[in-house]
């Protein structure tokens, strides 16, 4: 255990040169973040990101020689500790959710709109590095529980707490956002886990986010 806190190692895979350039410039300017690799395609990424070299892989879903989902699966198969943050201009949340239920660790997902905002991307990366799942705030706020689900039975306050948790916020940030105490947030979470019939444990938070995604839809228009 090193006493010095190591910086967060990020690998960036994005096929559009302009977008890649913007992201790299943004991340390199952040203290505490180190860009260890960048690639434009799937084959190049598999070469540039050997197991153990990065903490988080920031992957674009649309790649010229494949897609970020297949790449993420391949990378995590070699290195189960690698966390995946997917970025796309399509809404592919349902795919990410279905992969997450079998992947070594749940994947996070940002839309290109949000990730174009510097603060959002940096916040998401550090949340992911802390083991949380981050779902794009715009998609989370558009989410509606499906009619016949346990999720639909949560109170409005519980649903709001769960939405913020799905965005990858910690209890402190949720409390600040809602103007309640962190203790109250914890109480809400306990209630949410019970309502969604999740086992209490270290993974409840991630499991609750996955259930949130599974039992909700994001209608268009």
């Amino acid at each position: 255990m090193s006493a010095v806190r190591r910086s967060l190692r990020v690998a960036v895979v994005e096929d559009e040169a302009m977008m890649r350039g913007l992201v790299l410039a943004l991340l390199r300017a952040q203290p505490g973040i180190e860009v260890v690799a960048d690639a434009a395609g799937q084959a190049a990424a598999l070469e540039a990101i050997p197991p153990g070299s990065a903490d988080v892989a920031l992957l674009d879903i649309e790649l010229d020689d494949g897609n970020g989902i297949a790449l993420g699966l391949a990378l995590q198969e070699r290195d189960p500790r690698l966390r995946i943050l997917l970025v796309s201009s399509h809404n592919l949340l349902a795919l990410v959710r279905s992969i997450s239920s079998s992947a070594p660790s749940a994947w996070s997902y940002l839309s290109k709109r949000s990730s174009a905002q510097p603060g959002e991307l940096v916040r998401a990366l550090s949340a992911v590095a802390q083991g949380r799942v981050v779902i794009d705030p715009a998609l989370v706020s558009r989410s509606v529980p499906r009619s016949d689900t346990l999720l639909a039975q949560l109170s409005a306050a519980q649903f709001r707490v769960l939405q913020l948790v799905a965005e990858g916020r910690g209890n402190g940030a949720v409390a600040a956002e809602l103007g309640i105490t962190p203790k109250a947030v914890e109480a809400h979470l306990t209630g949410i886990y019970r309502m969604l019939e999740l086992p209490q444990g270290v993974n409840s938070r991630v499991a609750a986010v996955l259930e949130f995604l599974r039992q909700s839809v994001r209608p268009e228009g």
Binding site: E16, E62, N67, I69, S89, H90, N91, L92, L93, A94, L95, S98, R113, A116, V144, P145, R146, S147, D148, A152, S216, V217, R218, P219, E220, G221
Partner: protein, 383 residues
């Protein structure tokens, strides 16, 4: 092979029967007198003669069949063909007559030998002609079939190629819409918003409100129009497995609708995964999408059951089947296929079909069958 054997049998059988008749009815030349038989019984002579004949004619026929094949008789002109057959028949006749005279120690009259030779030649000529006609017809049919098969394969390859190319262009345009047009709109919206803020700071609230409306309209245009067009051009099934694309479809439905997808038969191997060429995946996805949006928009459905199946028949042909059932209000009395018409034409164009009818769930059922390449038959089709 069968033809050759039957031709030989025919040529050999007729004289054998003829000989047997001689023996039984006691006609010339065996009936000339007891001394002809040289102590042998009449039956023994007949049998010996018959064996000799059968053997001789068999050899002659086999040789002539080989000779005719070697001379590529089927590819020659009519006159050449007739000459060849007549010559050969005469040769066979001579061989047979020679065989008969060997069996007759006293010999026979010249008239008998000539008549016998001509008779045998006529028989052989008839048998060979029948065999040739038969073989020729078979060969023509086979050639016709081969040409037809080649033609079909060429058409099929061209179709696959065209579809692949169409899909490639669609993908490109769709990505341009997403990457280019959409990004540029985002930037334009930011510019408008910056001016709006500036106006607001200067106290020009009315102008700011107008700009606010403009930016909202632009954003809506970007969000709905551009996205929808890009999606219609290139649905997610092009880049992902059909099962993944259906997950995405279910995620966009209204919250009151439950959509379940089931896979039957060899669907997993054949239809649901990446094995299927992208054009086929997109087609199957478009059919399901059309059925689901009809169920939601017109049928007011609450439950939608999608079943994807795959089967491979004994001859190795694979078919993807799909049904979309809903519990909605069902079909109008005179259902027009509208969007489905184009998909039906596509399905039929490749030997499948698409039908609309009542569903056991109470609403409408959309059913389609589309022939697909078998598992891993076309590795190039993967995307």
């Amino acid at each position: 092979m069968i033809v050759a054997v039957s031709a030989v049998a025919l040529i050999a059988a007729v004289p054998a029967v003829e000989l047997a008749l001689w023996g039984i009815e006691g006609i010339a030349p065996v009936s000339h007198g007891g001394d002809l038989l040289l102590g042998e019984t009449r039956l023994a002579v007949v049998v010996r003669l018959a064996l000799l004949l059968v053997a001789g004619v068999t050899v002659a026929s086999a040789l002539s069949a080989a000779l005719l094949a070697r001379l590529r008789i089927l590819h020659r002109s009519r006159a050449q063909r007739i000459t060849l057959v007549v010559c050969l028949s005469l040769a066979i006749g001579v061989v047979r007559t020679a065989a008969i005279s060997l069996g007759l120690p006293r010999g026979a009259t010249a008239e008998f030998l000539v008549a016998e030779t001509l008779l045998a030649a006529a028989e052989a000529c008839f048998a060979i002609s029948v065999a040739l006609f038969y073989v020729g017809t078979r060969q023509r049919i086979r050639e016709e079939e081969r040409r037809h098969l080649l033609e079909t394969q060429r058409t099929e390859r061209a179709r696959i190629e065209a579809e692949r190319e169409e899909l490639r262009v669609r993908r490109e345009v769709s990505r341009d819409l997403h990457g280019g047009l959409q990004q540029r709109l985002v930037l334009a919206i930011r510019d408008v918003e910056a001016i709006r803020d500036e106006l607001r700071r200067d106290g020009q609230e009315r102008a700011a409100l107008v700009l606010e409306e403009v930016s909202e309209r632009l954003d809506e245009f970007r969000e709905t129009e551009v996205r929808a067009t890009a999606h219609a051009l290139y649905p997610p099934a092009g880049d992902f497995a059909l099962s993944a694309a259906l997950l995405l479809l279910a995620d966009r439905l209204p919250p009151s609708v439950r959509m379940d997808v089931r896979y039957e038969g060899v669907a997993d191997a054949l239809v649901a995964g990446y094995e299927l060429p992208a054009a086929d995946r997109v087609m199957l996805f478009s059919i399901v999408e059309e059925g689901v949006s009809n169920a939601v928009l017109h049928g007011k459905a609450g439950v939608i059951d999608v079943v994807i199946s795959g089967e491979t028949d004994a001859s190795g042909r694979s078919t993807a089947g799909l049904t979309v059932d809903d519990d909605g209000v069902g079909l109008p009395d005179d259902p027009t296929l509208s969007g489905l018409g184009r998909l039906r034409a596509r399905a039929r164009g490749r030997g499948g079909d698409l039908t609309l009818g009542p569903s056991p769930l109470g609403g409408a059922r959309l059913a389609a069958r589309v022939p697909v390449p078998g598992p891993s038959s076309d590795p190039d089709g993967r995307r």
